[in-house]
Assembly symmetry: C2
Homo-oligomer: 560 residues x 2
Amino acid sequence: MLQTRIIPPAANAHQSPLLIKRLLLSGGRYEKTREIVYRDKFRYDYKTLNERIARLANVLSEAGVKAGDTVAVMDWDSHRYLECMFAVPMIGAVLHTINIRLSAEQILYTMNHAEDKFVLVNTEFVELYNGLASQLTTVEKTLLLTDTETKTSNLPGCVGEYEQLLANASAHYDFADFDENSVATTFYTTGTTGNPKGVYFTHRQLVLHTLALGTTVGSLDSIRLLGNSDVYMPITPMFHVHAWGIPYVATMLGIKQVYPGRYEPELLCKLIREEKVTFSHCVPTILQMLLNSPGAKGHDFGGMKMIIGGSSLNRAVYDAAKATGIQLTAAYGMSETCPLISCGYLNAELQAGSEDERITYRIKAGVPVPMVEAVIMDGAGKILPSDGETQGELVLRSPWLTQGYFREPEKGEELWEHGWMHTGDVATIDGMGVIDIRDRIKDVIKTGGEWLSSLALEDLISRCSAVREVAVVGVADPQWGERPFALLVLHEGQQLDAKGLKEHLKPYVEQGHINKWAIPTQIALVTEIPKTSVGKLDKKRIRVDIAQWQEAGSEFLSTL
Amino acid sequence: MLQTRIIPPAANAHQSPLLIKRLLLSGGRYEKTREIVYRDKFRYDYKTLNERIARLANVLSEAGVKAGDTVAVMDWDSHRYLECMFAVPMIGAVLHTINIRLSAEQILYTMNHAEDKFVLVNTEFVELYNGLASQLTTVEKTLLLTDTETKTSNLPGCVGEYEQLLANASAHYDFADFDENSVATTFYTTGTTGNPKGVYFTHRQLVLHTLALGTTVGSLDSIRLLGNSDVYMPITPMFHVHAWGIPYVATMLGIKQVYPGRYEPELLCKLIREEKVTFSHCVPTILQMLLNSPGAKGHDFGGMKMIIGGSSLNRAVYDAAKATGIQLTAAYGMSETCPLISCGYLNAELQAGSEDERITYRIKAGVPVPMVEAVIMDGAGKILPSDGETQGELVLRSPWLTQGYFREPEKGEELWEHGWMHTGDVATIDGMGVIDIRDRIKDVIKTGGEWLSSLALEDLISRCSAVREVAVVGVADPQWGERPFALLVLHEGQQLDAKGLKEHLKPYVEQGHINKWAIPTQIALVTEIPKTSVGKLDKKRIRVDIAQWQEAGSEFLSTL
């Protein structure tokens, strides 16, 4: 270690630690007309938000929650969730954002594994909770969240209803300073195999992520993606990596925030229209659902900006959004990365390029944001050249990457092999630093000794006008090792078979985008593509379905 | 201390420390057409900037500079200074940015006090340096900075000339990680009494300041103050609090940067015009100098945004800038605060207000930026109400405030009395969080038991069309304790005496802005107002001058 002139802790005593409370207690927050909105149920200003967070802190403390305890939430996106995202970590406790889209069995596993002590439960999940209650090993008390007039329920261990408890609590709480390396939040990732893994972030990590995200959305693009005049509404659940951390940014900036509860397409469209939402974010499948909903028909989304992540953004989705007036920008990250890693922002030079070039850069994973280092690596830990062609596993360094999985140190060591965080994604990086995700390592199709990107193939297939949704996986083949297989959902009234798909792909072979071995010899036409709890293509289940269809000679199949 | 769930250092080993190198090594930096420009002398892209920083690191290391050593720079604003701002801290050394506007005696004091070991000297300061050389107690080697063809000089201990050394050095340097609480930079503040005091900042502090500044200029205002499409040029010296930290932000964002060398008004105007500069920052007096220069006559500065700090921004200067197309925004900070504390940004609601209201908020110290807590305090350490009326000393908390003065611990304790950093400024804070600086504690005029703000009076006097510059100080008075005294520079061909000034101020008395005791009974008309080395009104010297004039019955004086 270099012998730098280090300021010892004793001489550094007046450094304010990086605590979540500082995101709340500073900035232009007291503008009276700026609101936090929850559906058509609640509407209040930032001064009230501050007071409600203090009230919640008092309610939790009086109910026996102590620093170091884990407080879990089962709720849709709400002003209450936002208040929990501040109040729980601010009293030194750990917020567990339960993924309510998991199976009951998985939810039970995560609650016991995270050692949840106190649980806030929305009325809509009381039945689910009651089914688990007898098997919960650490929960002591619960609290009811409800939008209805009825403030009671059969929730076991319930200390009361949220709004009533807040109304009776003091609006003042003296939030103490503590070590910035204290855990603030935890949640579980759903791997394709085994139990969910517990990811956790410290106050320091969340504050740094918020500041870098603020700079990214404010300054890096040729246009401002998110600024003080915007109105924000998440369409990525708050239980999924803190709605990508944007609620922390929005609160720090003091902008208007809209929380929609459960994602009902009609309601989302209504809120966008009536609350004048200008900024949101979601995964591609949710955007497709929104754009295809009756409520979006004829709706002008002009001026709306969205960040798309979670899965790769293809050209067809970009164009469909553009046609309704929505400007999409891709971003890349994952649960373990808090999540922001890179963003498909355009600087002024790229903005001045051709439309095709602009879109190409908008839909890629993009350039690492400030404080993130990204390189590609081979299996032996050797860093590979950033030449835009060499493929390798994307590995990362940054101050906000999870340091491991809760109570599973051996999996953390695997995550951090060779001193870099492994993403499990295959990518190229070009000379300008632009990351292009080619595939999940597990989803790469190895056909005739070549590596074929299932994502690239999905992108080209999605450009076929008959195709509404597509998933490509590799299936075992005795001659080629693997062969690509395409699962398709067509637009209403459209027809396509394996031969038609080949016709669509031929020009791309001729132009050199793919080689001819990439054309699927077998496809399946279905009405729905299996998705994971966070809306990503469930390629594990797709492979099982295909195997069954192939065995049964299913009518879904079409072969060249 | 709360018993939070702290992640111990061993389980946190993969956290990237907050080091200055991460501002450089991430982000959209490789855009080929983005340039770093130095006058008409140098022009290169970000890839070259990265390589030159590595080359400089190699040059310094080969010259014997080690981690923990102090490396001093005597230069005007240049690409070389920018390279030093990165390379010196990145090898673990401490950058001492010498204030070359101090007296030779003071410079000598700071260089010996900071224990400078290696000094980079611009040709223009070789004579000054040689005059000090025999009294420098710690310097071992020097390096010459020059724009001219002649690459030699009579600089003692010189290892060579910057460009030649860089050209011969390797463009690769493996910058190591180290403790983020290592000192990165140091410089000296000039108090009104005693020796300059050494302020220092760690890597952690500079990184946090850069991220918060990036968010502030990008997202907080209704317009974007600084973004990817802007072109940046400092008009606050790089030796003065790292040009307010903006070069670090500009580099992190990968935007075009222009460094003007010495501030010659004609050259500044030329660079603004030819390099299409859109963002800058300076103190009010420098802005006045620029606007009054022949080169600015008829020049359209339309679209240019400037942040004004260092001294309070008055309405007259704001209006003069506006007339040329420059949009000013006030910001507040000081050497000890890295410097950003608050910014006069307007959110959408304020932007929609009347022009008068908008300007009122633009020229105030503004709202604390993210991660800054600001309150006002009385002399006993009691926090006073933020009601927009109660005056008290502005005190601060934030992660980037200097923890003390180098080798003067007792002065650091005074700075941090009661656990808050004392600014020495009297302010009010209103219910929206807006800070309004009323005066330096030392400059408040105590007349007849009332506190009168010299700044408020300067603002009102500056609105008189005959007045070009004004300074107000309190002078001892046997009857009232103190009385306000105004020192004026008039516009060419204009006339004004104490009686005329009284006429100008009368309406403000009638409207209740000031009480009648605020009208100065004596003024002085001069051709220049004494300034400190950083361009602020030198009220200490002004008081001495006035005392002498009053004793001698000077012709400058005009009495009611």
